[in-house]
Subunit: 368 residues, 2 copies
Amino acid sequence: MNYTLDPIYAVLEKTQLDGVAFVPGANFRRIFNCDFHLMERPLVIIVPRQGDPVAIVPNLEMASFDQIQFGGKIFDWRDEGGYDAAFKSAAAALPQLNDSVEIGLEAQRMRVFEQMALSAVFPVATFVNAHLAISSIRLIKTEDEISKLRKAIQISENALEATLGEVRVGQTEKEIESILLRQLFAHGADGLAFDPIVAAADNSAQPHASARIDYQVKKGDSLLIDFGASWRGYNADITRTFFIEEVSDFDRAFYNTVLNANARGKQVSKPGLKTHDVDDAVQVVLENSQFAEFARHKTGHGLGLDVHEAPQIMRGDDQILEPGMVFTVEPGLYRSGECGVRIEDDVVVTKDGIECLTNFPRELRIVG
Amino acid sequence: MNYTLDPIYAVLEKTQLDGVAFVPGANFRRIFNCDFHLMERPLVIIVPRQGDPVAIVPNLEMASFDQIQFGGKIFDWRDEGGYDAAFKSAAAALPQLNDSVEIGLEAQRMRVFEQMALSAVFPVATFVNAHLAISSIRLIKTEDEISKLRKAIQISENALEATLGEVRVGQTEKEIESILLRQLFAHGADGLAFDPIVAAADNSAQPHASARIDYQVKKGDSLLIDFGASWRGYNADITRTFFIEEVSDFDRAFYNTVLNANARGKQVSKPGLKTHDVDDAVQVVLENSQFAEFARHKTGHGLGLDVHEAPQIMRGDDQILEPGMVFTVEPGLYRSGECGVRIEDDVVVTKDGIECLTNFPRELRIVG
């Protein structure tokens, strides 16, 4: 075996679930150090609290799966016969789950048809959402993971600097996005953490905007760029907001309010603090400003093999920060129909505070 | 309203389902001509057979969602309060589904936590997998869709030709992948249809291999490249297999067997034929060769806004080909531990046969 399921057994012990099932994705990758695409062919790992684990694997993937040296029974299935028989055999090999037990699922990752296949063969089991519990195996990053995040961030920041050198008045948002994509791969990205957001003026006031093919940036526009490279599976997630050729005093004040909130989030974060308190400190900066009405979302989210993972930096959340957790600090303000500003850094919790992994300057910058 | 739900009502009529629920993704995009990332925040559209549709939307996305001009009730929810109340309100607005009705889900797309939220508020409804039925709205491509696919394919083929010009003995698979990624975006890709497969020698014998950072390609190696650009949401999916500097007679025969199977698949395909018959014709070429034991998978899959969609080109499948369907013809042979060859084209069904959308030459090519 090239892996250990100990972190999963710890989850089972802590939650007292009778088993968990998970599919390719970030948790799978953290455990097995390899990944498979989620497609129309189900690949499911079932780990019971007692007894050996079981894998249901498309025959097509067996050569790749064999490299894991999986230490349990494997039931493979072929396109022409479908996967029902493999699920039945897997259930027969797990009599301890053929009872009124609780099986935890990666419910934010696993799709409904995979659960339907499980439900069909474990008809008396109860399936519960164990996404947070299973994903907790990735909450504390190792040094190796942090160094991969640093590399993903470095590639992203170099690509952003190179992109800004090419931005000009009159380009469309889509053209600027194309420059960014080209620069990301020219600087060594393995892939995209997510489809970038390149949005100017009123479009930047939509937190998850798409680049327009028909809007040309003009003097005085905000230009919000939210993007990240992935490198060896690890994802950067960075936002900076610029202004094209000039900025009004009003927009400068708007920008600096977000900048203050960003700084405040990094200043207060430290081990022992609740994620609620980080978000609260950030929101208070926004709420005490003249722009309170334009706040729209929480401070941030965890970052690693997934772009959005635990911990959520959000009021009401009582996760306590610990060294090795990585998350984003990304306050934003959005004046609908006019202008949006978001400034996003990636930070890792240290022994006595945080280290900011992103280094791209945050001071208001005029480009174009 | 900037959209029509008529295709969904046709699905409801045909299936006699009482309602369907779907989430951002290819079907969503086809209907609303826009998309949202699937993240930890559920966004769900519920369309009952009778009465107005309902949307559950993260407040954060409302500015983007408003552009749809949704013609039904919208229940938005904020991070701090969670989404349970929005689902409850949505259910209250859909009394016709608060009964022992059948609700169809996009089960290969929707995640378990979204279904759990639906189950909680429609406790007596039965949820069924309606993925194929809902996705059937995308089965026949319009001229506009085909022209976008052509563009995605053209970008991909230009990028592949440029990549081959840079391939040299001694490069790692990962280095060649980096060249390909850079060239895709330099040639105008909006994004990647999927993470490319760049695999040489024994690694090419794994149908879904990952590029190795520690294997340098050498004389006589196969080099399999399976990749595609996306453009305006539409995906290319192309595979070509090359040989580095030289090829053995045995590998040449192996290659030409796959080439014959690929040609056969395109030759037989026409309206009125079952997808079973296309796959069967292709598999017979492989099975009647000296390499029969190395076949591993079906002939292909539909292609469009999703990289893997209907129709599946597979024995046992009785979908009948119709003009406007787009699918891949991608036979492969895989000698475990030695060499894999796959040759993949994208085709559109015409009035009396198919048109091959991919033009990259298929004859055995020596590179490096």
